[in-house]
């Protein structure tokens, strides 16, 4: 038996087929669009997150530039401070600067340093140990004990003092000078100066004099572009 064809139903379906096709196309388009959106949205959001972090870090670094100007108003010149610190702890040991520091200290405190010997036991790659011998009176020795750390222009620490009170002669001191490059700390560049840092800087500034003329690059000599 032949199946009965409903011609009316077929006609109605035919009439509405355009709507059905449009809907299916729209549905496929919408699903594709949503999938593309989810993918792109995730990518952009990730990029925004990463960029945000990078911008925060960069802003911290950029703030240092402004901060450097701010601290100048407080009397702290970072370039000068760094030069002072390099003078106190040079990157490489310079025996002559150590001797010059002793001379300077002697001049400033009036405590006469008459003899010095290298203390090999206390000398390491980054520190030079010296045993110095000097004389003076109660006041000059006081001055020396008060100012020895920075006033000579090199950082000095004392390991031992040994002296006879009668006449304040033959006072022996084991002292150390320091040198060497320092390992870079992580993110240390982004830390602003604390009150303690500022106090140390002021103390150094008050005691260490910097030979500005000597530190400046000399560009007054004539130059030639053609070596021949």
């Amino acid at each position: 038996m032949k199946p009965k064809i409903n011609y009316y139903l077929l006609r109605v379906i035919k009439e509405n087929s355009i709507y059905l096709i449009i809907f299916v196309v729209m549905l496929v388009g919408a699903v594709a669009g949503i999938l593309i959106f989810i993918n792109q949205f995730g990518l952009i959001n990730n990029k925004i997150g990463t960029t945000n972090k990078e911008i925060t870090e960069l802003k911290k670094k950029a703030d240092l530039v402004t901060y450097k100007q701010e601290i100048i108003k407080q009397g702290i010149n970072l370039d000068q401070t760094n030069r002072m610190l390099t003078k106190l702890i040079p990157n490489e040991e310079d025996f002559f600067s150590a001797i010059y520091a002793l001379e300077e200290l002697s001049k400033k405190t009036n405590f006469s340093i008459v003899n010095y010997t290298i203390n090999l036991k206390a000398t390491t790659k980054n520190s030079l140990g010296l045993t110095i011998e000097g004389h003076g009176d109660n006041d000059t020795f006081f001055n020396f004990l008060r100012d020895y750390r920075f006033s000579g222009g090199r950082l000095i620490t004392v390991d031992k003092i040994d002296f006879k009170f009668s006449g304040f002669s033959k006072i022996k001191l084991n002292i150390n000078f320091y040198s060497g490059k320092d390992a870079a700390g992580q993110n240390s560049s982004q830390v602003k100066l604390t009150d303690f840092d500022k106090r140390i800087i002021k103390e150094i500034q008050s005691k260490v004099t910097l030979d500005v003329a000597g530190a400046e690059e000399n560009t007054s000599f004539p130059t030639k572009t053609n070596p021949f």
């Binding site: 009316y8 139903l9 109605v12 509405n16 709507y19 059905l20 449009i22 809907f23 729209m26 549905l27 388009g29 919408a30 669009g33 949503i34 959106f37 792109q40 949205f41 990029k47 925004i48 960029t51 945000n52 911008i55 960069l58 802003k59 950029a62 240092l64 530039v65 450097k68 970072l78 401070t81 760094n82 610190l85 390099t86 106190l88 702890i89 006081f142 004990l145 750390r149 950082l155 620490t157 004392v158 390991d159 031992k160 003092i161 040994d162 002296f163 006879k164 009170f165 009668s166 320091y178 060497g180 320092d182 390992a183 870079a184 700390g185 240390s188 560049s189 982004q190 840092d197 140390i200």
Partner: protein, 191 residues
Amino acid sequence: MKKGINLIIKQKKYLHYESFFRTLRVILFGLTIFFSVTLISLFVLLFIKNRQLEQQMLAKKNLLSFLSNNKEVEAEFAYFHNKQNRLITILNQDVKFLPYYNLITDSLKSASPEPTLDTIIINKDRTVNFTLIFNDANSVIPFLKFAESDQFVSNFSQLVISQFNIESGKDTTSYKLNLVGKLNPIDETKN
């Protein structure tokens, strides 16, 4: 034989079909509008996010350019902190001798009669070795009593008499008392 459709009998059924497809068209139209609005909204949101990212990239580029022009500042701060850390580490190892020297001389002033400080050795670990001179034997006993008092002993974590010498000269005799000990750390932040 001629075929025909009986519209009277089938009308109800056809009306049902018509109504179904009319409702379906309305639903399809509604869904199309909904999807269109949703998609447009999502893409507007994507556009806004894209603009945000572009602005951030521009800000990052500007910051990088600014930092590239001032790159020495970062290096200066890094250099400062490294040098300063080293300086603090070294200074923390240094015993500031002046307060310890003052501590011993000042505490001896409280003794009656006051002995004369002849020699003193102070090490960085705060161990101290000092010799006192007395002009007569009668001064030694009161000093030993003073040396046992809390006022004097509180400055030391250890203190022992290591030597006692009598040195006779032509006209005078001196009594030398040598003490060895370890000074208590002075908290300078209290002052």
